[in-house]
Structure formats: C-alpha cells, structure tokens
C-alpha cells in the first residue's frame, strides 16, 4: 500500500488511517447485518449478487454496446452530443423504470405513485432529445457558416 518511493510519510500515515477507519466501519456494517434479525440473510445475499452481476455482466456491457452501435454511423461532429444524450437517457431510465412499471401503486392510496409515469417518462426523454437536436442543428449551422467564410477568404 505504501509502495511508491515518491509517497511522503504523511501520505502513508493518512492512507493507513483511512484504511483502518474503513475496515472498522465496514466491519461494523457486516457485523450489524449478520446479527440483525430483521435482515433476512439469504434474500439479502441473493439480491446483492443479482445487482452486482447484473450490472457488471449485463447492464454495463449492454450500455457500451448500444452506445457503440448507436453512434457508429453518425458523422464525427454529431457523436459527442448523441453520446451525451444516450448517457442522460440511460441514467434517467434507471430512476424512472420502477415508477413506469408501477408495481408500487396501492389501490387504497391514490397518493402513492399518483402520476402518469409513462407520460412523464416520454416527456423527459423528448426534452432530452429535443435539446440534443437543437444543439446539433446549431452546431451544423455554425460549421456551415465557418466553412462558408473560409471558402470566401480562399477565393
């Protein structure tokens, strides 16, 4: 952990302090989980492994693949904005999905999940892509102007 020759002694001590504090806090959490009767251990482990493996082996590769395929045939100048919009859409989807699925609705409580989340999600996604399209249009117009000016200067 100390490794590098350039690392100062203060840094080394700070590192040791952080690691020691971290071990204590994480140990406290693990001990609490194991001893707390209100946490069912097997479902907890199953859930944690599912989200970990689901993220690392499914969601992340899929996101990278979609990003790759979706921007592959785009002109160079359009890629950054579209990649950014894809990122915003993907992370918004992670937050919106449980609401859109709506399993949390309660027949006796109309104030629980009171909105039309399909509509809300579509509005949010439309806002993201309209903004992106506007940015791209502005960019295209600007680059046409610049190239036109350059063209005039050359002639």
């Amino acid at each position: 952990m100390t490794g590098h020759g350039t690392t100062s002694r203060t840094t080394t001590w700070l590192q040791r302090l952080l690691v020691a504090g971290g071990v204590l806090a994480a140990g406290y959490g693990v001990a609490g989980l194991v001893t707390d009767p209100s946490v069912a251990k097997q479902p907890y482990l199953r859930y944690t492994l599912t989200v970990l493996l689901g993220h690392d082996l499914l969601v992340m590769p899929l996101a990278i693949l979609i990003g790759l395929l979706a921007t592959r045939w785009l002109p160079q100048w359009a890629r950054p904005a579209v990649q950014g919009a894809l990122l915003v859409t993907a992370t918004l989807t992670a937050v919106a999905l449980p609401l859109v699925l709506g399993y949390g609705r309660r027949p006796d409580d109309p104030s629980a999940l009171p909105r039309d989340y399909h509509r809300g999600y579509l509005i949010a996604v439309a806002a993201i892509w309209l903004t992106t399209a506007t940015l791209l249009a502005l960019r295209a117009a600007r680059s046409r102007r610049t190239s036109a000016t350059q063209h005039q200067e050359e002639t």
Binding site: M1, H4, T6, T7, T11, L14, Q15, L18, V19, G22, V23, A25, A26, G27, Y28, G29, V30, G32, L33, D36, A40, P43, Y47, T48, L49, V51, L52, D56, M60, A63, I64, R79, P80, Q83, G84, A85, L87, T91, L92, A94, V95, A96, P98, L99, L101, Y103, G104, D108, D109, P110, S111, A112, P114, R115, R119, G120, Y121, I123, A124, A127
Partner: protein, 386 residues
C-alpha cells in the same frame, strides 16, 4: 493445436480488457468522478445517519424541534443526492470497467485483498442506490428483506469500503489531479469535459424530474416525482391508509376515547372533550423518510397542555400510541424539545376540515422537525414518561 477464429481469440482473458478502446478513460477522469461521487456518498451517509439517529436516538444524540423545516431539508437532500449518484456511479464504473477483466486477476496477496474490497465497494454502492430507488417507488417485492435496516447496515459497509478505496488510491488520485491537464488527442466522440457536462445534465434532468415531491413550486414539472405534495385526501399525501393499518372500525366508531396518562392520574377524553379544550393552529410539514414533504395547517390541542393536565412537568418525554397494532411505527416518543414545543399538537383538523380517516382521524400527532413515521396517527393514548 486449435486456432480459434479471429473474433473468438479476442475474447481470451488475456485480451479481454483490450477490447475497450475509449481514449476517454484515464486516471484524471476517474479521479474527478471519484471526488464528486465521494462527496455525494458523504452527504447521503450523513443525512441518512441523522434520520436513523432521530428515529433510534443513541444516548449522546440531541435533536432540536427547530428549525421546523430542518429534517425536511436533510431528508430531501438524502433522496435527491441518492438519485444524483445514479449518473455519477454509472460513469465512474464505466471509467474503470476494463480493469474488471485485467489478466492475471491479481499480482500478489495484497492486491487480491484490495480487489476483493472493491467487490464489496461496488456491491454496496449498487445495493444502496437500487434499494433506495425501489423504496421511493414503493416497490418492495424485489427486496425480500427489511429495507430500512438493510439500507442502514449496508451504508456502513459502503462508507467503510469507500474509505479503504480512498486510502489505497490516494497517491494515484494525487498524481492524477496534479498532472498537467493534457489535451487528449482529438478522439472520435465525447471529450472529458463533454462527458462531465453530460453527467451534470443527467443529474439536472433527474433532479428536476423528481424533486417536486418535496419542493412544491416544482411539483408541476417533476413529471417523475413518486409523490405529488398536492395529491391525496384533503390535498395531502398519505403513506399508510386507515384500511392498510386496520383501524377503520376503531377510529371511526363513536366509542373512541383518548387516554391521557401522567403522574397525577388518567384522563379519558372523547373527541368532543378534545374539541372543547383550548385549540391552537400550526403550519407544519409532513416529511416522509422517502423524501416527499407537504406543508399543511393543523389545529388541535397542544401536547404540553395535555401533559400538564395530568401533572407532567416540562422536560419530560411523552409517549404517543396509535390504535394501530403490530407495526413498528404504531408508537413514538416525543423527546423533551418536541414535547415542550408549543407547535407540537394533537391535531383534530387539517386545512380547516376534520381529519380524513387516512390522515389519522380522530386525532394525530404533528410536531415540528420530525420524520413522518414518528407523527403517529389514530392516537389512542398519550403518556407522560417520568
């Protein structure tokens, strides 16, 4: 010897991490994202621990009854920051994703331990974010464990694993942040700055789409708010209905009596008796641990007046019990600052109307600066603790 066709040889473990070609990944990017993420986790941990301590106060803990809206801010911040973590965590994990496939997987024993601690860190982070999102969406079935305690203990694991990670990576982070910002060669796609702008935009969109559940002026544009502070019986959201709590008969019946217990004796009051006592009005929010809140005007009897009527002294705690049975939230204890506060009421009306059954008819507790789960509804008993 079998020679695999070209695409398959690329999947050999020694080559897997080289599949990822983005030039955007760098220690500089990861360090910057890591610092932002670390700050966000710190905010969530601090506000989350605070909420836990208010509900299960340790001996040293003191929580005031003012400012009235303090808990509303800290818990609103907890949920909003937790949602802002989604894009930060996603991009942070993307920036180090190829390292997951490094070959050989570890250099030595110390390196193996460090990589195992990373599994703990990533698992705890994903656990906290996903269970938090499921909980505010009221979708409990994927979590077949008790959310509250699991989220609390895992917060300690996340905080600990994060401290270990910062400790291990400190020299790398320092070098990365001190290094002159080299202009990456014009790559096809997002620049580092562009990526950070996209992360900021994602945080902005997610926040605007949800924060109206606690910031009423934004309720109209928060199209993905899990709650709407304007929607519910009498224009106020409800977390648990009378039917859900199984109190409909007992709360609506004419036989209702409130029992007030103190050092000098016991009072049994009907709803009419309560209404005949001096009434006071307070503007107070209902603030749910799930991050929504809504202000209303409540009228009723001061808890400190009830306590005084049975010989309670200032500085005593007061226990409030519900008609509801078998729920961890069916009783709550008002610590002295809240019990003595003139704004703490046993409310009989909200916004000028008798309480709806779902808001706690015949009467409910409403106190300043407290989580909603402690604002006991369908109150059947008030006891001065000595």
């Amino acid at each position: 010897m079998v020679r695999l066709p070209e695409p398959l040889t690329r999947l050999h473990p020694t080559r897997l991490s080289r599949l990822f070609t983005s030039r955007l990944r760098s220690p500089q990017l990861t360090s910057r994202l890591g610092m932002l993420l670390g700050a966000a986790v710190a905010v969530c941990f601090a506000t989350g621990y605070l909420s836990h301590a208010i509900q299960h106060p340790p001996a040293w803990f003191y929580w005031p009854s003012r400012p009235v809206n303090l808990y509303r801010i800290t818990q609103g911040l907890h949920v909003a920051t937790g949602l802002a973590i989604v894009p930060l965590l996603a991009v942070k994990l993307w920036s180090v994703y190829p390292k997951l496939f490094r070959w050989p997987p570890f250099r030595d024993a110390a390196h193996a331990v460090e990589r195992l601690s990373l599994f703990l860190l990533v698992a705890a982070a994903l656990f906290q974010v996903t269970t938090g999102i499921l909980n505010i969406a009221l979708w409990y079935s994927p979590m077949s464990f008790f959310f509250t305690t699991a989220h609390y203990w895992t917060a300690w694991i996340l905080a600990g694993a994060l401290l270990i990670h910062i400790g291990v990576k400190l020299p790398v982070v320092r070098r990365a942040l001190a290094a002159p910002s080299r202009r990456p060669t014009e790559a096809a796609g997002l620049s580092r700055r562009g990526l950070l702008t996209a992360v900021a935009s994602a945080i902005g969109v997610i926040t605007v789409a949800t924060v109206g559940q606690t910031l009423r002026p934004l309720a109209g544009i928060s199209v993905l708010g899990p709650r709407d502070p304007r929607v519910g019986p009498q224009g106020l959201p409800v977390n648990k209905t009378a039917a859900g709590a199984g109190v409909t008969t007992a709360a609506a019946g004419p036989g209702y009596r409130l029992e007030v217990v103190g050092p000098s004796g016991i009072l049994r009051l009907s709803l009419g008796d309560l209404a005949a006592l001096p009434q006071h009005t307070a503007q107070l929010p209902i603030t749910c641990v799930e991050g929504w809140s809504a202000t209303a005007t409540w009228t009723g009897v001061r808890i400190r007046d009830l306590a005084a009527a049975v010989g309670g002294q200032p500085g005593a705690s007061v226990r409030v019990e519900s008609l509801e049975r078998g729920s961890p939230y069916s009783t709550s204890t008002l610590p002295p600052p809240h019990a003595d506060d003139p704004l703490t009421l046993l409310a009989l009306t909200v916004n000028g109307e008798p309480l709806d059954l779902d808001h706690g008819h015949p009467c409910r507790l409403i106190a300043p600066n407290r989580p909603g789960v402690l604002q006991t509804k369908w109150v059947s008993r008030v006891q001065v603790l000595t």
